[in-house]
């Protein structure tokens, strides 16, 4: 059993109430930070912890905090990104639903560190039932003097509000999220300026993921150095993994970074192996935006080193033979999965979610969806396969926000690792489109 710092008490009855949460040691970090530490000291501990943003990009949280501009006479904001819309990711939802106070405690301690007097939790609109859970928990905190004026007599005051989105994946991108919070369409902003200088209402702003913020209390209570001892190398701490797809035990797991991938996938403590006794074919290991890998390349790098769950190990081999830890959305596919169909589904998603501001993304995602639809339905030709890769290359790196890359990578990697399966769809359309048909290996291609 690994160390659990976010989910240790997740099954304690009543943990969603302030009373039980405090009984289990909750809100100690607020007392400690507000009464015995300066904001700079809190930032310093988070820096030392090596905590990296859990929203997907893995940018060091303490470093991001230290970039926050502090001009005279302007408020500063902390905005929590609870938009969680990356296909394959559902950890933030589970954490907020089960232990809402974990996030709220993190918000208070982090807001203090950043000098914010008003903070927002931007939650995707579909999670209205979770918004209500958070609002109830926030009301408990106001009543207990943990929010509002002069928190616990420390002289520090904070207002915390929850804001629902309206259904748009792009609002998870931090500048689109800020536009949305200002009451506009979720169009990402051109950067620079970054939110640290020009964020919400033109004021310096930090945007952090739910899990990043919920990790701060433990760091404050136990010191950054202690946190940095968990994990491996630059992948410190624990990480929530959302496990879905063809496994026996789907769900959210907190792991210590550095856990062998084989153990995570096959042991009964975690995913419990591939369902229905089938074989492991492929995986999208970090949410839909990261490159897909074959089962073999996921378990071991191209050099044959067994992989572990860290940012570094999963990206070993670059985009040729590696992937990314991303948001920790672990989507497992068994040997009955059609890769072409799966890639088409994801492409359709990105086309649907493109905000339409930049032509490479708006047009390119549409092209990719169309081509993949053709291939999947048996109307494609060999040229289409190269065209797909070509279009993905023209999107990558040429857009205002990373949604373009996120749309391009899954397609390029699917063709890279499963090209023969795409060719099978072209050469044997009648077989490939038969209900339930799946490509089973090179012999399928050879025999007409």
């Amino acid at each position: 059993m690994g160390l659990k710092i976010l989910t240790e008490h997740i099954n304690v009855p009543g943990i969603d109430t302030l009373e039980t949460y405090r009984k289990m040691g909750g809100y100690r970090s607020v007392e400690k930070a507000l009464k015995t530490m300066t904001p700079e000291e809190v930032v310093e501990e988070v820096k030392k912890s090596g905590l990296r943003g859990r929203g997907g990009a893995g940018f060091p949280t303490g470093l991001k905090w230290s970039f926050l501009a502090k001009p005279e006479g302007k408020p500063r904001y902390l905005v929590c990104n609870a938009d969680e819309s990356e296909p394959g990711t559902f950890k933030d939802r589970v954490l907020m639903e089960k232990i809402p106070h974990a996030l709220i405690e993190g918000m208070i301690t982090s807001s203090y560190a950043l000098g914010a007097r008003t903070s927002y939790i931007y939650i995707r609109g579909e999670l209205m039932f979770v918004l209500r859970i958070l609002e109830k928990a926030i009301a408990e905190c106001y009543a207990a003097g943990l929010l509002g004026e002069n928190i616990l007599g420390s002289g520090y005051s904070l207002d915390l509000h929850v804001h629902p989105g309206g259904g748009a994946y792009i609002c998870g991108e931090e500048t689109a999220l800020l536009e949305s919070l200002e009451g506009k369409r979720g169009n990402p902003r051109n950067k620079p300026p970054f939110p640290a200088v020009w964020g919400l209402y033109g004021c310096p702003t930090v945007v952090n993921n739910v899990e990043s913020i919920a990790s701060v209390p433990w760091i404050v209570n136990n010191t950054g150095d202690e946190y940095a001892k968990i994990g491996v190398g630059r992948s410190t701490g624990t990480k929530l993994i959302s496990a879905s797809g063809h496994i026996n035990n789907p769900g959210v797991y907190e792991i210590e970074l550095g856990l062998p991938v084989e153990e995570f996938l096959f042991s009964d403590e975690y995913c419990g192996g591939i369902w229905k006794g089938r074989k492991f074919k492929a995986i999208v290991a970090g949410g839909s935006s990261v490159p897909i890998l074959t089962g073999e390349l996921f378990l071991k790098t191209a050099e044959g080193t067994p992989r572990v769950m860290t940012y570094e190990s999963l990206s070993e081999g670059g985009f040729v033979s590696g992937t990314m830890l991303g948001s920790g959305g672990f989507i497992v596919m068994d040997d009955t999965t059609c890769i072409v169909r799966n890639t088409w589904n994801f492409s359709r998603f990105y086309h649907h979610e493109s905000c339409g501001q930049c032509s490479p993304c708006r047009e390119g995602t549409g092209w990719m969806e169309k081509i993949l639809h053709r291939l999947e339905h048996g109307h494609g030709n060999m040229h289409d396969i190269d065209l797909l890769v070509n279009v993905s290359k023209q999107i990558e790196g040429n857009t205002i926000c990373p949604l373009g890359d996120a749309a391009a990578w899954p397609v390029a990697s699917a063709v890279r690792h499963f090209r023969d399966e795409f060719e099978w769809h072209v050469k044997h359309p009648e077989k490939a489109t038969a209900p339930g048909a799946v490509y089973s290996g090179a012999e399928d291609l050879a025999f007409a």
Partner: protein, 169 residues
Amino acid sequence: MEQTTTQNEVQFSEKAMAEIRRYISHYPADRKKSAILPVLHIAQAEFGGWVSPQVQDKVAEILDIQPIEVYEVATFYTMFNLKPVGKHVLEVCRTGPCMLRGADHLIEHLENRLGCHVGENSSDGLFTLKTVECLAACGMGPMLQIREKYYENLDPQKMDQLLDDLSKE
């Protein structure tokens, strides 16, 4: 509670107005527009599950902004229904992880059972069938949302049971 709407007279209930005022108070006084998404959600719940142009105009009036600013937002975000919907809106997740666990079959089953396609209302007007993108429940798929509730780990039998229960409501 449902309210009657006529061409120019959109009237929120006092309870809804209190909720709207509470949201507006969350943002700086000169940033009322920030409340647009929460207010649209309240409006949709208040006026039969969709936001008509008249309702959107009323939202603009309450927030002291131009109607076009509301139209822009209401059309950008997928949660706002711009046409009348059935009593129960079924929002089925169709994205990759749910597809891997059988979302396609669930959608097909719903189309057959309701006698309508995705995006349409059932012939009895009771249900609207919508597909949506990943709802952050991927491990519990296939799943769907009805109003504020998630129904997870569905199969055709459970789905039929749920529809039967809803039909009786």
